[in-house]
Amino acid sequence: MKEQDRERTIVEVVGRIVEATRLGANNGGLSVEDVLADTLYFEQQRLKKSPRDRDNNAYRKLYRSIRQQLPRTSVSEQVELLRQSTDRFAREVVGKFDPRVYAFTTRVLPVGAGLMVNAVSPLSLISRLPELPSLKDQVVLRGATETLKGLANKGTVILAPTHLSNLDSIILGYSLFLLGLPPFTYGAGLNLFANPLLSFFMHNLGAYKVDRRKQAGLYKQVLKEYATVSMEFGYHNLFFPGGTRCRSGAVESHLKLGLLGCGLQAYINNLKNNKEKPNIYIVPCTLSYGLVLEAATLIDDHLKAAGKSRYIIEDDEFSKPRQVLNFVKELISLDARIVMNISEPLDPFGNRVRPDGTSEDGRGRSVDPSRYVFTGDGPDHDAQRDTEYTREAGRAVVRSLRQDATFLSTNLLAFTAFCLLRARGMDRQFYRFLRTADDLGGIPLNEVHLALERLRDALREKVRAGELGSNPVPFGFDPQSVVADGLKYFGTYHTHEVLARRGDRLFPGDMKLLYYYHNRLTGYGLESAIDERLRGDQ
């Protein structure tokens, strides 16, 4: 957020939350005292496990003071305490944007990363001089890019991407720059602000801070209100609707609607305030990597608890600069592509938006979205109604993400190999199968090729039926090339080869990672194309 907007944003966020709490209390909701007590409880729980650094000590001091005052305060004094707590949260959350750092970063980062990588291979660097390597060639932008650029001038955009890696925000930021769009604001986990590689950039490139350890309702309200106000001030936003990095590697099918709902709130506020450009556009977007930096940690987490995964992972590959360097090196040396696929935009109600910014319903008829929020004389909020609209928008986002997913050679090869192995080990319980698949023997390459051909046909059928976008496999689907390309990726970055070829057979080297990369194609009913016995697993 630009310096000139910071203070007024904080004032607006704090004012709205305090007012809403006061009004809520008057209408039978939680009292101000209850909200404060709730905040104290959750914050004390958090602080018990937190180190004694400057920030936490400031919080301790604030809460000590509130705890002492709370039993003896009047309602108006409680409101003041609430204002103090909210202000503290808001000041922590609000992001800073320094245009000089942005200009520097967009010029230097791509080449810097390229140099960093080639420093590992000085011969390669010398042989290319004076041309400097760049990350630019690695990013492939597809889909409704022109529509996105057009809509960014017609209203405020919420980019809603899939989330696989902590590198996503960097790749997305860089892609938006390549498209000629201004930087988007987005919420980034506290761990990224503490990351030695990224800290400086996170603090200066408009990211706002999200501390997932803060569980107090008041803090979550601050986050939502901050996103809402920033949109009303015309800042394009980037939300990861899945909430956190997808642990399984699949395309998200369950979204967290909280931040998505902010778009609707901002839209209604814009209409109420007669803003010149009130429209909010939700643009789903899928990111696809041949290799995922944190794949090993994420799938471990997914399998460990199957549903009870850690929400915050602070000790993954991303926190190890050497590992990140190694990953980026592989990315460039493999000439790997990262595909960013922009879907057709949606309005806050889940209607499709045309390139000219107007909405249309499922039958292609024009609709006026402002009519959706009219109550009596004009536009207004209605909690129950708005929740339902947001759910509808969430469903539309999921449909887009799944429909416009992109599958790379690692996904295609892993899906095929995993399904062939699974069919052989059908008699084993799933976790046992993962542990013992090694003893199923290798899969003959000709079997893999034939299965890939069946998968290719099944994908074509899905495209014809409209279940997938027109080109889900962007770099061609020649089975032999898919095998060669997939093996190239699987044989390099990860500690153990995910899948290895010996002679004319493929052998699983890391079943968990094979499962992770395979998961990208799950949920489309493609398993039976590989082996009819897997029909029940779909």
Partner: protein, 300 residues
């Protein structure tokens, strides 16, 4: 004294296998290794896989060799013979992985052992190594396998392939072979072990085709004495066309090699046409096949 060789095999063929087996030389045939200059020699151990350069079009040709002549890939066995030390196996394997190749095995010259045994001449001399490597490999192959050997014009590959063909057919053995080996410059103390090794390999895995890729730029007529088994290809596209003539790759596969040469190596349409015209003029490839290749090129 036996020749120190490191043999790494990842695939055991069925005993009744009667199909082709490619045996490719690595240095100067697939990898563009510079053994001649001091800088080139210094570079070799320092190079990472990504730094290694290849002879234009050879990766695509090798992929087509693996794919075979039909619609579905047949995974034709491919083994590699390298005069590099086995310590470079990791880098070479990784380079092949990056190039999408699927080697089934390697034979490396154990240069450390040679040096320790004081056989310094043999560090640079390749005839002994190449023949020993091929016979060692043949001893492990099914008797019905048919060899397709691929080398270059920098060393004595043409002569090596000629001798190999003769011994495999049983035309050269015993004292005659010993004399031929001495003529070829083999160290006298190595001759007897080599004749013994050849005797074990004779009759197994006949040479079906030998191809020398002229990466040094010699005139093809230099290899005329070694015909009909040894053929000279000026570059990878001609090698691919030659393999297609022997039904080892498809006409579409040759077209794919041509596309890669154009896309990755800056070849022009005219260069492709000239190359194909040359193999026809030299009677390596018949006109009907060239017609099919041209059709595949036109129809993408």
């Amino acid at each position: 004294m036996s020749y120190p060789i490191i043999q790494l095999s990842e695939r055991r063929l069925q005993p009744d296998y009667e199909g082709p087996v490619f045996v490719w030389d690595v240095d100067k045939t697939y990898l563009d290794t510079d053994f001649k200059s001091i800088w080139g020699l210094l570079r070799i151990p320092l190079e990472m896989a990504i730094d290694k350069t290849i002879i234009p079009g050879t990766a695509a040709t090798l992929q087509e060799c693996r794919r075979g002549p039909g619609e579905h890939p047949v995974h034709t066995p491919i083994f590699f013979v390298s005069a590099s030390p086995p310590q470079l196996a990791g880098v070479i394997r990784r380079k092949m992985l990056l190039d999408g190749l699927q080697p089934d095995g390697f034979l490396f010259k154990d240069q450390l052992q040679l040096a320790l045994q004081g056989r310094f001449r043999e560090l640079k001399f390749q005839v002994e190594y190449k023949l020993t490597a091929h016979w060692s490999l043949i001893a492990d192959l099914p008797p019905g396998a048919r060899l397709v050997v691929v080398g270059d014009d920098w060393e004595s590959d043409g002569h090596v392939f000629h001798l190999l063909d003769a011994t495999q057919r049983g035309d050269l053995a015993g004292d005659d072979l010993a004399a031929a080996l001495l003529d070829a410059g083999v160290t006298p103390s190595s001759v007897d072990p080599m004749v013994d090794l050849a005797a074990r390999a004779t009759g197994r895995a006949q040479v079906m085709l030998a191809c020398v890729i002229l990466t040094r730029g010699r005139d093809p007529s230099y290899f005329d004495p070694y015909r009909p088994v040894v053929h000279a290809a000026r570059e990878a596209l001609q090698a691919a066309a030659l393999f297609a003539e022997h039904n080892l790759v498809s006409p579409g596969g040759v077209a794919r090699v041509a596309w890669r040469l154009r896309a990755d190596w800056g070849w022009t349409e005219q260069q492709v046409a000239d190359s194909l015209a040359d193999v026809t003029a030299r009677s390596l490839v018949a006109e009907p096949l060239i017609h099919q290749i041209r059709e595949a090129l036109e129809h993408g």
